[in-house]
């Protein structure tokens, strides 16, 4: 789609920017990358009242144009870099009407860049309710821009905002907010002259940010560096002067335009909630209760939809093998693709529940309270209160969680968080845990309400947290800090979750999981099917010949004969040969060659395990009796001993391996993307796989 006008949304975090973006663009949006950096770029299209189309860009929320984290640095470069063609024609600055003072700082900075601006005064309903009286006309007049009161949550004022966007001026008419040139007159004049720019504030920002701006040439950057020395420009002092001047402007503006009720300091609802949720004792009790609830919900709420999906696939496999003539194609579809797919699809309910619950925690503002409560503990182990969010997000998926570490300003804290996040039990491990626990842990209740299987799962989750924290503690002593750490963070007001957003996140994440995992799984399933259906040379023909001899045909029933042939073929197939090659390495962990095949194929993605198991064991299943993977694995026996393959020791050893091993190509890729150095993912892969082998070995020999 081609847009007539490009509009960027800019605002503080927690101002309802994303909600407004969703309303303006509907489902008509896509997530991409800003060129050269890995910050998510959300764009969408919006039909304006005058028939034109606007492209809307959602820029990361920031408190100031001076970036403190990787995400925030994108805001200034998008607004300043004219060469890449990303600069907006119009900026919509979103201000939280109930918290104007701090919100206006960013406005004054953006305004001084002299790009046309429209102000969306969001949460006007909240500020009205709080008795805050804003003289919007005077406010707009003093700023020299259009000001539109909106309520993104209640979907009010949206048409007026679209109108304002459509009929906005093409040239910037806003009033100057402060005397920028007075801050550093000489260097501003010189940069304007040298770089041929006419905006003083842009010149000042270049003096501050030239080292991190990729679009400046080396000569330009060096030139600015020289000017800094020449005029003894001190970045922090200059910023301090500027910030004080800006707040003076803001205080004057608010004094004239906003009347607040005198009844300050009374207890707000948010405060009352905080008293309980961050209480010395109850705070932690509630936090752990919420985590417990999440794990129990994953298990119990998903049971029914999961069995439905399972049945659906069994039915589908039956139908296909009945309708189509038997042959390699049907075998490929039924035993390869469908068997692999059902292994993943079955976990959609669990993943959806997990993502929904985590997005509710974030949306309500509870997650930042967890950050607040946990900062001291996290700091002791070399992390940061802000590491809690990626770590909890790690329960869902390490990939978005590692991307969310961009909010952590401190380099060392961020690196350690990235290194340990993949240890947290992600949703891809859930299928393996579920399967193994269901195989060896009895399904009954202990202590009235606790389900034994649920407890085993909780234990696996706790183990993942303990291991992440321990590794972080060790790394604290290995890595050297680059800068001082700090923790200055807004605690947003509690809000009801936006159910539409929760539903959207749930749908979006589950879809991504299915599409991404599905692709890998179908590919791996097909490769695996080929590897196990064909053997080197004429081995398969020889096996057929061998069992056609009269001594076998006469002594065995046709049924058991097919079974023997099938399992002998599997063993001598390419997959079997491969499994046997690695068997000596994994034997000390209690794994046979069949598990070995699944283990190796899981290095692409963990969730492949179940599909692989299904594909491998479908060989031995009765042709006329379709079973689920779990049933097949339950009845699997070791041909040498006649005992079940999946004993308690093997199942737990396997879970340990999956708990620690770095079996996820996407995570390796994202760690590289975020660190820009292959050594980080390499070290991560090595230490995690080493831990996995050791833990499996110990557990197997302990439980054997």
């Amino acid at each position: 789609m081609k847009a007539d006008i490009r509009v960027a949304l800019v605002g503080n975090p927690n101002t309802g920017k994303s909600t407004l973006f969703n309303i303006l663009t509907g489902l008509n949006q896509k997530i991409g990358n800003f060129p050269g950096v890995t910050v998510d770029k959300k764009t969408g299209f919006c039909q304006l009242p005058d028939g034109r189309t606007a492209e809307i860009i959602d820029l990361p929320g920031t408190y100031s144009i001076y970036p403190k984290s990787k995400d925030e640095s994108i805001v200034f470069s998008v607004l300043a870099d004219k060469a890449k063609g990303l600069t907006p024609d119009l900026i919509v600055v979103i201000l939280d009407a109930s918290n104007l003072k701090r919100n206006l700082l960013l406005y004054t900075q953006i305004a001084d860049l002299k790009i046309p601006i429209v102000v969306a005064l969001n949460m006007i309903d909240v500020s009205d309710k709080a008795g805050i009286d804003i003289d919007i006309d005077l406010f707009a007049k003093k700023l020299g821009v259009q000001v539109v009161p909106v309520s993104a949550r209640k979907i009010k004022g949206i048409d007026q905002l679209k109108n304002a966007i459509a009929y906005a001026n093409k040239i910037a008419l806003q009033q100057d907010t402060i005397d920028v040139e007075a801050i550093a007159p000489q260097i501003i004049a010189q940069i304007k002259d040298d770089l041929k720019i006419d905006n003083s504030y842009l010149a000042l920002q270049l003096a501050h940010q030239h080292e991190t701006l990729s679009y400046l040439s080396t000569e330009q950057s060096d030139r600015i560096e020289k000017l800094e020395h020449e005029f003894s420009f001190h970045s922090q002092k200059s910023q301090a002067t500027e910030t004080i001047a800006r707040y003076n402007f803001i205080n004057d503006l608010l004094y004239d335009t906003v009347k607040k009720p005198e009844t300050a300091h009374d207890e707000t609802v948010s405060n009352k909630i905080d008293k309980i949720l961050t209480h010395k004792v109850f705070g932690f009790v509630i936090f752990f209760a919420i985590l417990m609830f999440i794990f129990q919900a994953i298990f119990s709420w998903s049971a029914y939809p999961m069995s439905l999906i399972e049945d659906l696939f069994i039915w589908l496999q039956k139908v296909i093998s009945n309708v189509l003539p038997a042959g390699p194609l049907v075998s490929l579809i039924v035993d390869g693709v469908l068997a692999g797919l059902s292994g993943v699809m079955v976990f959609i309910p669990q993943i959806a529940i997990l993502f929904a619950l985590i997005s509710i925690l974030e949306d309500t503002g509870y997650m930042s309270r967890v950050t607040f409560m946990m900062d001291k503990v996290m700091r002791k182990v070399g992390l940061n209160g802000k590491s809690v969010v990626p770590l909890i997000g790690g329960f869902a998926c390490a990939v978005p969680s590692i991307m969310s570490t961009r909010n952590i300003e401190n380099w060392k804290d961020r690196m350690i968080t990235i290194m340990v996040t993949p240890l947290v039990a992600c949703s891809a491990r859930l299928p393996i845990y579920t399967l193994m626990i269901a195989l060896v842990v009895p399904n009954r209740n202990v202590w009235w309400i606790f389900n034994l299987q649920g407890l085993a799962l909780t234990a696996m989750y706790l183990l993942s947290i303990v291991s992440a924290v321990t590794v972080a503690f060790v790394m604290k002593f290995i890595l050297k800090a680059r800068e001082r750490g700090y923790f200055i963070m807004e605690l947003p007001v509690y809000r009801m979750p936006r159910w539409k957003n929760v539903g959207f996140t749930m749908y979006d994440r589950s879809k991504t999981f299915v599409l991404q995992a599905g692709k890998v799984i179908i590919a791996v399933s097909v490769i695996l099917w080929v590897l196990k259906s064909y053997g080197p040379g004429d081995t398969f023909a020889k096996i057929d010949q061998k069992y056609h001899q009269t001594q076998y045909v006469k002594t065995m029933t046709p049924d058991s004969l097919t079974k023997v042939i099938a399992s002998e073929k599997l063993e001598s197939s390419y997959a079997g040969v491969f499994g046997h090659v690695i068997e000596p390495v994994i034997k000390p962990l209690g794994f046979d060659w069949k598990i070995g095949i699944a283990l190796i194929s899981s290095f692409a993605a963990r969730e492949v395990f179940v599909g692989t198991m299904a594909t491998i064991y479908s060989v031995e299943g009765d042709a006329d009796k379709m079973e689920s993977v779990q049933q097949k694995m339950h009845s699997a026996t070791n041909p040498d001993t006649g005992k079940p393959v999946f004993t308690l020791a093997v199942a737990f050893s396997l879970m340990m391996f999956y708990a620690f091993a770095m079996q996820c190509a996407s995570t390796v890729a994202v760690v590289y993307r975020e660190t820009k150095d292959w050594r980080w993912p390499a070290v991560q892969f090595a230490y995690m796989t080493g831990l996995a082998y050791t833990a499996s070995f110990i557990v197997y020999h302990w439980l054997k």
Binding site: R102, K275, L491
Partner: protein, 71 residues
């Protein structure tokens, strides 16, 4: 007297900062000289603290609070 010495519920007015680097970050978030700050609560483990400033709630570590000198 610094902000870190206040008890929950007490109010102070910012006079100056002892640390330039921290002051820049704190001022951006609305902690400016002349601004009134009230201690809302202290985290369960004693650190960080939550303050009410410029009409909203901000959390910061005790160390950062100790760089804010009160009138």
């Amino acid at each position: 007297m610094t902000l870190s010495q206040l008890e929950v519920g007490e109010i102070g007015i910012v006079k100056e900062f002892t640390d330039l680097e921290m002051s820049v970050k704190l001022m951006e978030m609305g902690c400016l000289p002349g601004e009134e700050i009230r201690i809302s609560r202290i985290a369960p483990l004693g650190d960080p603290i939550a303050i009410h400033v410029s009409g909203y709630q901000l959390s910061l570590r005790k160390f950062e609070a100790s760089t804010i000198v009160l009138q």
